[in-house]
């Protein structure tokens, strides 16, 4: 008989349940303060808030414990809070289409980074030409809808599958070669794609493709302004919610894959390919799958980008873009979906925030990747240790911490 203790643990449970979403709201609020307003005081207030949360989290073991507990056991609350926030935020900035534009680009970047994470993070194969898949998707979608009059939905799916096909193709040499060979193949593929997009006539050459139509949902174009209760909303907001749907879908897919056997096997390939082979894993098939899936996401992202901006040119898809996405993955945390999303958000929003320092943009990307790799190669959020409640997999070959360096 110990009612007090029981009572205690129930309050704890409720507390844990609440505290995590609250913390999420505080973190989002601090980011909001930094990103949305263009003045020194709110920026510093936002940064202080963020730093405060971070120190609070790392200094108070109790808080840390209950947060971790909340994340582990009550994911639903966290996800719902996140979705509500993602839904509300653009409504508060509807007078600033520029902010919503930044958020859309961030959403597309997260989709891109999730795709690259399949290869670099989960499977451990370098890919330095990822922008090519993004470009293939964007061009496929743009060409199908401008030259062949296909609807957005057909173009989108086609873009994903065409990009996936190219991913599979580029993945082929991985079957027989080592990681540095793969780095070269991917760079070469990226450059060849860039040159071809630039030189071919049907891709519009260096001038790219313009007048790409906006997506239509049952005949309603996303470029139409919504008016509600006497307020008119900028067209960017339509796109924001539209891309958000895809983002949520892609995140769900990424989590599903991560938690499935495929994710585990990918990790096995990364840690020790020969051992994986010996354990009966079809490494060839899995490597190709990681390329095809990563490219599929890139293709979807490319299609969304093309139909949002309405204009694409080869310049959008050069080596620097590949490096940017790589930076997102490495900064966020290899093979950690939440981390990668955070990395993608930071690296796509920060350049807009520091527009006056644009000259240092690529230098900063390089430095971030380099310093992260040298001093914290696990990224912002460390790769999680896999846990299986009813262990199908007795051997924990998947996730050793040394894997992060």
């Amino acid at each position: 008989m110990n009612p007090i203790k029981m009572n205690d643990s129930t309050t704890n449970r409720t507390l844990n349940r609440i505290i995590t979403p609250i913390l999420l709201i505080v973190v989002v609020a601090s980011v909001y303060l930094v990103v949305v307003y263009e003045n020194v005081i709110t920026t510093i207030a936002g940064l202080l808030l963020g730093v405060g949360v971070f120190f609070g989290y790392s200094r108070y073991p109790k808080l840390k414990e209950s947060v971790n507990d909340g994340i582990k056991k009550d994911k639903v609350y966290l996800i719902i809070t996140g979705l509500i926030l993602a839904f509300i935020i653009p409504l508060t900035t509807r007078t600033q289409p520029y902010i919503i534009h930044i958020l859309i680009i961030a959403e597309i970047s997260i989709i891109l980074a999730l795709g690259l994470n399949f290869q670099v993070g989960s499977t451990g194969i370098p890919n330095l030409g990822y922008a090519a898949f993004y470009g293939v998707g964007a061009y496929a979608s743009a060409l199908l809808s401008t030259k062949f009059g296909m609807s957005f939905w057909v173009s989108l799916l086609a873009a994903g599958f065409i990009a996936a096909f190219f991913g599979w193709l580029v993945g082929l040499p991985t079957l027989r070669t080592r990681s540095y060979h793969m780095a070269l193949v991917s760079i070469a593929f990226g450059l060849v794609t860039y040159i071809m997009l630039n030189n071919l006539v049907f891709t519009g050459g260096p001038n790219g493709i313009k007048n790409i139509p906006a997506p239509e949902i049952f005949g309603w174009s996303l470029f139409s302004t919504i008016r509600l209760f006497g307020n008119s909303f900028p067209v960017q907001i339509n796109f924001y919610y539209f891309v958000l749907l895809f983002l949520v879908l892609m995140l769900a897919i990424a989590f599903f894959v991560y938690n499935s056997k495929i994710g585990l096997f990918w990790n096995a390939v990364r840690e020790d390919e020969i051992a994986a082979k010996c354990s009966g894993i079809n490494t060839a098939k899995l490597k190709l799958l990681s390329f095809a899936m990563g490219a599929f996401l890139a293709g979807i992202a490319g299609s969304l980008y093309a139909h949002y901006i309405g204009y694409i040119s080869p310049e959008n898809f050069n080596f620097n873009t590949s490096l940017q996405v790589l930076g997102m993955v490495i900064m966020g945390g290899l093979d950690n979906i939440v981390g990668v999303s955070i990395g993608a958000f930071i690296l796509s929003v920060a350049p807009e925030k520091f527009r006056s320092l644009a000259d240092f943009r690529m230098l900063a990307t390089g430095l971030i990747i380099l310093l992260m790799l040298m001093f914290r190669s696990s990224g912002i959020i460390r790769q999680q240790i896999r846990e299986y409640k009813k262990s199908h997999f007795r051997t924990e070959l998947a996730n050793k911490d040394e894997g992060n360096g």
């Binding site: 670099v120 451990g124 194969i125 370098p126 330095l128 082929l172 040499p173 027989r176 070669t177 080592r178 990681s179 540095y180 060979h181 780095a183 070269l184 193949v185 760079i187 070469a188 593929f189 450059l191 060849v192 040159i195 071809m196 030189n199 390919e273 020969i274 080596f319 490096l323 790589l326 490495i330 000259d359 240092f360 690529m362 230098l363 990307t365 390089g366 430095l367 990747i369 380099l370 790799l373 040298m374 190669s377 894997g403 360096g405």
Partner: protein, 306 residues
């Protein structure tokens, strides 16, 4: 015939530049199994180190006094500096990451290349634009029965051949060369045999980077310009050459460099509209090699270590 001959000289020129870069790549892979993607940017580092030194020498009036003597001295000085630079890269970047998974090291070298490139662009005055590079090579044209040789191309080809031959001598005939070969074969065993691995690796980095610096300087001097991002192209081509020849194999780098140079020049000349697809040809060649013969022309078959 005449056209063919001119193309041949031009291909030799391009080949020698690629070879100088490829040698470094292949040696790194040999001793520490690392594809150093910042190697191409070391070439450009050489050109940007040379320009201020040259400018200074011109200002002091040393150049008018004895250009013929001073230019080789400056070039050798810059080669030494880039060699030290390479050693620095090893000490600061590569060595701490040798314990990490190879993927991390590979990505770090890519990022280091980007940092070097962008740092040059931001730091060097007006660095975004192409820089006029001093004309270090003898000008003029040697005409033998209608065939025209530029003295500058001949100098480059000659210098590269000298470098390769002396490097071959170092590798084959000296104690250091023996150590390099031993480390390439098996670094653990060679350590047990009393070879100073650290010293050997640093020597390899110094030699590789000095040759890359020379390649950059010759490239700049021949074409008259240098630019912060020239290294990414030279680096990728050099690495491609090393892969075609067989990574880790010294002679392979030479064979690969020559082959790549010839593919590039002749494909551009003889395939209609080939010039704008020049890079596509060389990359397709590399990809084809990686699919059908990943070990390269001279490389041995790859066995995976367990």
């Amino acid at each position: 015939m005449n056209t063919f001959f001119q193309l041949f000289i031009s291909a030799l020129l391009v080949s020698s530049l690629y070879t100088l870069v490829a040698v470094g790549f292949t040696m790194y892979v040999g001793v520490i199994n690392l594809a150093n993607f910042s190697h191409g940017d070391t070439c450009v580092m050489g050109t940007f180190l040379l320009m201020p030194i040259f400018l200074f020498a011109t200002k002091m009036g040393w150049l008018s006094a004895g250009a013929g003597l001073l230019i080789p001295v400056i070039i050798i000085l810059v080669m030494l500096l880039t060699g030290l630079w390479g050693a620095g890269i090893y000490k600061i970047l590569v060595k701490p990451l040798l314990v990490a998974p190879r993927l991390i090291l590979l990505l770090a070298s890519v990022a280091a290349g980007q940092v070097i490139r962008e740092a040059i662009r931001v730091i060097y005055p007006n660095g975004s634009n192409p820089q006029v590079f001093p004309k270090l090579l003898p000008s003029g044209i040697l005409e033998i029965s209608g065939l025209r040789f530029g003295y500058d191309s001949l100098t480059i080809i000659f210098l590269s051949v000298i470098c390769i031959i002396s490097l071959n001598f170092i590798i084959k005939r000296t104690k250091m060369g023996l150590a390099m070969r031993a480390v390439s074969q098996n670094s653990d065993v060679s350590q047990m045999m009393g070879i100073n691995i650290e010293k050997t690796i640093i020597t390899v980095f110094i030699i590789g980077s000095a040759l890359a610096g020379l390649a950059g300087i010759l490239n700049g001097a021949f074409y008259g310009i240098t630019k912060f991002n020239l290294g990414s192209n030279l680096g990728i081509k050099g690495f491609s050459a090393a892969v075609i020849g067989g990574l880790g194999d010294f002679q392979g780098a030479i064979v690969g460099g020559v082959l790549l140079g010839f593919i590039e020049v002749f494909a551009a000349a003889y395939i209609p509209n080939g010039s704008q697809y020049q890079d596509v040809f060389s990359f397709l060649a590399v990809i084809a090699f990686l699919i059908f013969r990943p070990s390269g022309i001279l490389g041995e078959k790859i066995f995976e270590k367990v």
